[in-house]
Amino acid sequence: MARVLLKNVTKKFEDVIAVNKLNLEIKDGEFMVLLGPSGCGKSTTLRMIAGLETPTEGEIWIGEQIVNEIDPTKRNTAMVFQSYALYPHMTVFGNIEFPLRMSNVPKQERIKKVKEVAEFLGIAELLNRKPSELSGGQQQRVALARALVREPQVFLLDEPLSNLDAKIRTQMRFELKKLLSYDLGITTIYVTHDQVEAMTMADRIAVMNKGQLQQVGTPDEIFYKPSNTFVATFVGSPPMNLIEGDVLKDEKGVFFDSGHFILELPGDVDAEGKVILGFRPQHTEVSIEAREGFVKGKLLGIEKLGVESYGHLVYEDLELIIKLPENIRPSMGEIYWRPRHDRMYIFDGKARNLIYG
């Protein structure tokens, strides 16, 4: 097991910068999730750690060693691919045994290890089957077993759950987390575009966009202290509402003017001029009667998600989503709302970085 350190890592594909000056440390035994939309450079980062891509600039450390020049066959990292990449011509046993065979482990020991890891992952009865005879979830386990069997220093997973159906995905999420973090305590880097996976599994999340690292932090930090508007809208569902406007100060207090309505801000807000106000749909107060400090809104539609329902409000070109209390019914055309003061965010109007919240 080992920590992984990326120092100023850049990867260019001809003119495209896939990863731009990335600095990131994954601690020994940590479960790190690289989160971002497709094309943000997260998979490229993973592939550079594995050695399948060579960084254009910068250093990659695994343990106490710079691995830039070390061939992927010798890095002792294991990777689970999105398609699982099982060898179709080998049995499950052959697949799991393969990395051991390649590193010349004696036969008796190979058999012992394969059986152990298969037992551990609950696939012992599948050892004689071919990958094509397995379900998606079983293939997934075989891929995991193949990666685990040689006890790698670093465990890399590239969207491993995205080919599974929703039910198995939820189940595998917990199993993977339990296995890698609690049972084995192995250094894991997990790439996904699914924020739910990131939030539920990660010790820390690194959010990336367009090759740039946006924020690194625990799931709580990412959710409650997003460092900019990208992180704020990418994590959380439905996404955070962002409203452009101006901060106004007078003797009565601090206010936010969106052009459509005016909201009172907490007294300690220290910002001026153009800003972006952010609040999550869940962090609002809603009333069916007019109240002091509440904004009137016309419900355009209601999205029902079982227990929760979300109302869509429109102010000309501005659309907002707020969570509705259970007693608000679709027939009610108008509601009054305001964001909760303790969960308000203010971002810089230009740089879009967090300045309050």
């Binding site: 399948l52 066959t73 990777m79 990449a85 099982l86 590193s103």
Partner: protein, 282 residues
Amino acid sequence: MTPKEKERLIKRIWIVITYVVLIGFALVYLMPFIRSLVASFMTWAQASQYPPKWIPSPFTLENYEKLFRLELFPKWVRNTALYSGIIVAGNILFSSMAGYAFARLRFPGRDVIFSALLSLLMIPMFVTLVPNYIIIYKLGLIDNILGLSLLGLVNVSSIFLMRQYFMSLSNEIFEAARLDGCGPIKSFFYIALPLAKPALGAVAVYQFLGSWNAFIGPLIFLRTPEHFTLPVGLSFAFQRAMWTEYTPIIAGSLVASAPTILLFLILNKYLIRGIVITGGKG
């Protein structure tokens, strides 16, 4: 008639038309074969009549007897088998290695070399016949099955077929193998080769057919009757100064084509897959 019935009727008519056309073409292609089969049981006098006769009378096995009376016939079969065996083995080995390199490895000039190789397909064999002859002659391998085989050990179309096949395999499998500790050579033997069985089957069948029936090459590079292959041997045995005795040649050709027909019946799915592989992904 309801529109549905009408549609069904039109569909049925189309199927009938399709089959009529297909059967027509099949007959056109089969006709020479049927003619050969019938003629092999005729005397030369009857077979050469015009308009052609379709029923052997008298029915004779004389042509086959002549064939099996030939002392060198078994030798020729063995020579042909040896030649085909070497060609098939050589192509499987070398074209899979070359195809793998072109599909999976990155090296400077790869694509240029590959295009150059492909352009060789445009050059007719007669252009290279004389230089090849000189090379084999200088090597002292004229009139030697091994010398002849040397020319066909690897073939551009086999390389192309293998390359296309290797390119169609998922990249992730090779990446996984790399992380599991396979360098390029190990992943060739452990991953690429076992997965390439269908393509290798296609290469083997094509090369077997080509070399078993080869005529021009063996005719030019082999000299003594003991070293002939079957197609050359047959025409040698029954060619007289003024005329050729065709019926024994026909009988011989039928005997000679038996293995290829058998092979086709057993392996035709590989043949078709070979066509699909080369024609599919590009």
